[in-house]
């Protein structure tokens, strides 16, 4: 069905102030939404309390209201503007909560405003743990054992059961605020009580812990005609136990066979269909690393923090497409904005690796607890793209601006072996560097795996990076002599090229080799070891792309 002709004016709710779990990615989504709606001739009224956003720029929406995001102000804007529809699934949890309240208080009905996109009932079903769990049971999707707790007494009852550890999550909060892992009854009481206070509904979910399982996410889209696609899947390098916002994430998944990939993809589609979502949604799953067992962890019935990552990782504009679906369009009526030839109804194919690393503010809050658990602490993230995992990881590390130019952060080399082991088994912001240091000291992949449950595939890649450090050090003098001989066929020339392919910066190579950075740079330029640029085109080069969107790599062909 083409765009619904009755929708001429739409109110979009922004995400308000930037907080942990809800940062600039929702500005990105909201901006896309406004532009996307206006492309279809819809007038857009925007309400957002955060003026430092692109979406509140005068050219993005037709009308902008910079007002508090609460029922009172939103009602007044609705009364004044009389929009035909309300789009609330792009402003994160804030937008969704406000829309829920506007509906509950009868504001939408009073002014005859249709909630566009995903129906309210679906949102409630996805967000209310008990409703969601019973839906999952009906459609045959496994959910971990859990208890809904609404009082301290109920909390005390859960203390009597035998499955430990347990994971505690308050309902209706952002970024898992107030959650944690309880190893024993005492911890359960402590975390649970705090969660009860923080939850909008005074409700806490206690659940079987899936610590150590693989954490996999799917970004899924559905239109009103029940056509569904997955935009992207992502694998968390940090296994279950770390909030996905605090995890290093790769796209697409790296350690899943096709059977596992498709099993979880089918589950995600099954879920989005059963919820009746019209637009985008994010499905988080836990996969047993030793069997086909999996559990559905959580569904975000809206554009989420991960959607922004998935959008940038694939070139597929999730918010843009979700907005068009919201006004009645079907996936096969929406153009793929990158290729301009194919449609939004396809699944992006990546021919590169994407790595996201969270950025924690511990450099500002030096006394804060640096451990990362199920409560998100990162205030930002960086994403990088390259042809392989190692260089993407190295690029991301450099992008963090934590004065690390690779895996050798200076401090960790002063740690004792015991400190290293602790740093590996207890996730914190330094874990990546600690693992590298452990490899430097001769620890084996198996040992690190046993301590961290991180998949051996990722660990092996980190080990390879450490081995390259060693090779650069060992061959430092030979590389230095290259500067004089300029012998292209020397094995050290190949080494230099391999190091660049693995993502080592000139500065880092210079450190290992003991030469100035500029010497390394001119040396590799003399050897024509220079970056090439490749396109993110959503389709792995199967079709020509119209909108350029490049990443650098040390591969052969340059596409600029």
């Amino acid at each position: 069905m083409p765009k619904d002709p009755n929708i001429r004016k739409v109110m979009v709710i922004g995400s308000g102030p930037i907080i942990i779990g809800q940062a600039a990615e929702f500005d990105y989504a909201g901006t896309q939404a406004c532009t996307s709606l206006r492309e279809e001739g819809v007038r857009v009224v925007l309400i957002n309390s955060n003026p430092a956003t692109i979406m509140t720029d005068t050219e993005i929406a037709d009308r902008v209201y910079i007002e508090p995001l609460n029922v009172e102000f939103a009602s007044r804007v609705i009364e004044r503007e009389m929009p035909d529809g309300l789009l609330a699934t792009l402003g994160g949890q804030t937008g969704l909560n406000l829309a829920t309240q506007l509906a509950a208080e009868g504001v939408l009905e009073r002014y005859n405003v249709r909630l566009l996109g995903t129906p309210l009932k679906s949102i409630q079903m996805a967000e209310d743990r008990e409703e969601f769990r019973s839906l999952m049971r009906r459609i045959g999707e496994p959910v971990p054992e859990s208890w809904i707790v609404q009082s301290e007494n109920e909390l005390a009852e859960v203390c009597h059961q035998t499955i430990w550890p347990l994971i505690v999550r308050p309902a209706y909060t952002l970024g898992g605020t107030g959650g944690g892992i309880a190893q024993n009854p005492a911890e359960l009481m402590e975390i649970g009580k705090r969660g009860l206070k923080l939850s909008m509904r005074h409700q806490v979910m206690v659940e079987r812990s899936l610590l150590g399982w693989k954490e996999i996410e799917y970004e899924v889209m559905r239109d009103a005609n029940n056509t569904c696609i997955t935009v992207c899947n992502m694998e968390n390098l940090d296994p279950m136990g770390v909030h996905t916002g605090d995890s290093i994430v790769v796209a697409p998944s790296q350690t899943l066979s096709d059977k596992e990939y498709q099993m979880l993809r089918s589950a995600s589609l099954n879920i989005i269909r059963s919820l009746g979502i019209e637009g985008g949604c994010n499905v988080q799953l836990a996969l047993d690393p030793n069997s086909f067992d999996y559990f559905v962890i959580e569904v975000n019935p809206r554009v989420s923090r991960s959607s922004a990552l998935a959008s940038k990782a694939t070139g597929y504009p999730i918010a843009r497409v979700a907005s068009k679906i919201a006004i009645g369009m079907r996936l096969d009526e929406i153009q793929n904005a990158v290729t301009k030839k194919t449609l939004a109804c396809f699944e992006p194919s990546l021919d590169y690796c994407v790595v996201k690393i969270p950025r924690w503010p511990f450099d500002k809050f030096t006394l804060a607890d640096r451990r990362i658990t199920t409560q998100m602490k990162a205030t930002g993230e960086v994403m990088s793209i390259d042809r392989a995992f190692e260089p993407a990881l190295m690029k991301a590390i450099r992008s963090l601006e934590v004065k690390a130019y690779g895996l050798s952060a200076k401090k960790v080399n002063t740690y004792s072996d015991v400190q290293l082991e602790e740093g590996i088994s207890t996730p914190n912001d330094e874990r990546l560097f600690v693992i590298a240091e452990a490899f430097r000291r001769g620890m084996m992949v198996e040992e690190v795996h046993a301590l961290s449950n991180i998949d051996r595939w990722f660990l092996d890649k980190i080990l390879r990076l450490v081995q390259m450090e060693t090779r650069l050090k060992v061959h430092g003098r030979a590389i230095a002599s290259l500067a004089e001989t300029l012998d292209v066929d020397a094995p050290e020339a190949q080494l230099l090229s391999d190091a660049k392919k693995l993502g080592f910066s000139d500065r880092q190579i210079a450190d290992f080799v003991g030469l100035p950075e500029r010497t390394i740079r001119s040396l590799r330029k003399a050897f024509q070891i220079v970056p090439t640029y490749k396109l993110v085109d959503t389709c792995a080069a199967e079709f020509e792309a119209e909108t350029p969107y490049y990443y650098s790599c040390y591969d052969k062909e340059d596409e600029r």
Partner: protein
């Protein structure tokens, strides 16, 4: 030690890389597949016979090779092209690395290739013949390509089809019997038929219609398979004789064989459809499905006759992706309901087939 290898294309392009798998010369039609997972299934899919397959996803081999994901009894590709071949395999089912597996099966691979550049070339100029070698000079390898038979001239179906009929193992009492005409079948088709309560007898591509009908099967499955369908007049004749006698479902090549049996012909696609993300529209309900595909030829819709009509189209290029007969219990799809690799969205076609069989009884 890792040996250097070269990949040469018919048009004279030379790519330098490193050898993995077996160190043996390879020759075939160079094609690309954009699926991000499923290399084990791809390697063993008979529809890749005669082809050197390039995967566009750059890191291949990550989860190793396991005993369960084979789609036929052997590696079917002539050669394998990847950007990076994983040295370590990490997955609970993995028994060996892809490199080891290909060595054992004597199939050569080449890694370190700018697979994106290769894909762009094939996209622009169409698929072409190519060869891999660790010993030949560029001149030698190009001469070898020139002197080798072209892909379109070889009947690969005869090479991959079973020699003798056999029955796919079935536990319990089957509810119905399916005769499958094997032009290069994937195991997952039989596995899915078994799930639907069907016992499958697999016949060679050369089996006569009479031989197949003699056992009075409840339905007939036409399998996928490699190569140019225009070389398969003998199978088309068989299909023509079977049509109308029993309910028929065709998959991939089976779709093309049915098209040819009903007046149409096939044409070669510039670079084919190979991957796990192809959108197909079911013209019956306008729903779009993400499909697993592997085909280099398509049916000309304009020449279909005798009641056969187009039921599915590809949304990327509008080509025919499925047929149905207006009166007879016959339908076919050009993509892969059995997935393996790829999305399982179309697996319902197996139950649809069974329903059609029951309804036409």
């Amino acid at each position: 030690m890792v040996k250097k290898a070269i990949l040469a294309l018919e048009d004279g392009t030379i790519y330098e890389g490193l050898s993995f798998g077996a160190d043996a010369p390879a020759y075939g039609e160079v094609v690309f597949n954009t699926g991000m997972t499923g290399y084990q299934e791809i390697l063993t899919d008979p529809s890749y016979a005669g082809q050197i397959v390039c995967l566009t996803y750059p890191m291949i081999g990550n989860y190793g090779i396991n005993p369960d994901d084979f789609e036929s009894g052997k590696v079917q590709v002539e050669g394998f092209i990847v950007h990076e071949c994983a040295e370590v395999a990490s997955n609970w089912r993995s028994k060996m690395t892809m490199d080891f597996f290909l060595k054992e099966r004597n199939i050569s691979g080449i890694s370190g290739i700018d697979t994106r550049s290769l894909t762009r070339r094939l996209r622009a100029h169409g698929v072409m013949m190519g060869a891999i070698s660790t010993t030949e000079s560029p001149e030698e390898i190009l001469t070898r390509i020139k002197n080798s038979p072209s892909y379109a001239g070889v009947d690969f179906v005869r090479k991959v089809s079973t020699e003798k009929p056999y029955v796919w193992p079935f536990e319990g009492t089957p509810e119905r019997q399916i005769a499958l005409l094997d032009c290069g079948v994937k195991y997952n088709i039989m596995r899915n038929l078994a799930k639907e309560g069907c016992q499958t007898t697999v016949y060679p591509c050369t089996a006569a219609a009479e031989e197949i009908l003699e056992r009075n099967p409840d339905g007939i499955m036409l399998s996928p398979g490699p190569g140019d369908p225009s070389l398969l007049g003998y199978v088309v004749d068989t299909v023509r004789k079977l049509a109308g006698k029993k309910p028929i479902m065709g998959v991939c090549l089976g779709n093309q064989l049915l098209g040819c049996a009903f007046g149409s012909r096939t044409f070669k696609l510039k670079f084919g459809h190979r991957g796990s993300n192809h959108p197909v529209k079911d013209l019956n309900n306008d729903r779009v499905y993400i499909t697993s595909q592997n085909h280099g030829y398509a049916i000309d819709p304009d020449e279909l006759k005798d009641g056969m009509e187009v039921a599915h189209i590809n949304l990327n290029d509008g080509t025919v992706e499925g047929l149905r007969h207006r009166e007879l219990p016959i339908f076919s799809i050009q993509y892969h309901p059995e997935a393996s690799p790829g999305p399982m969205d179309s697996v319902y076609y197996f139950s649809q087939f069974v329903r059609m069989i029951e309804e036409s009884k």
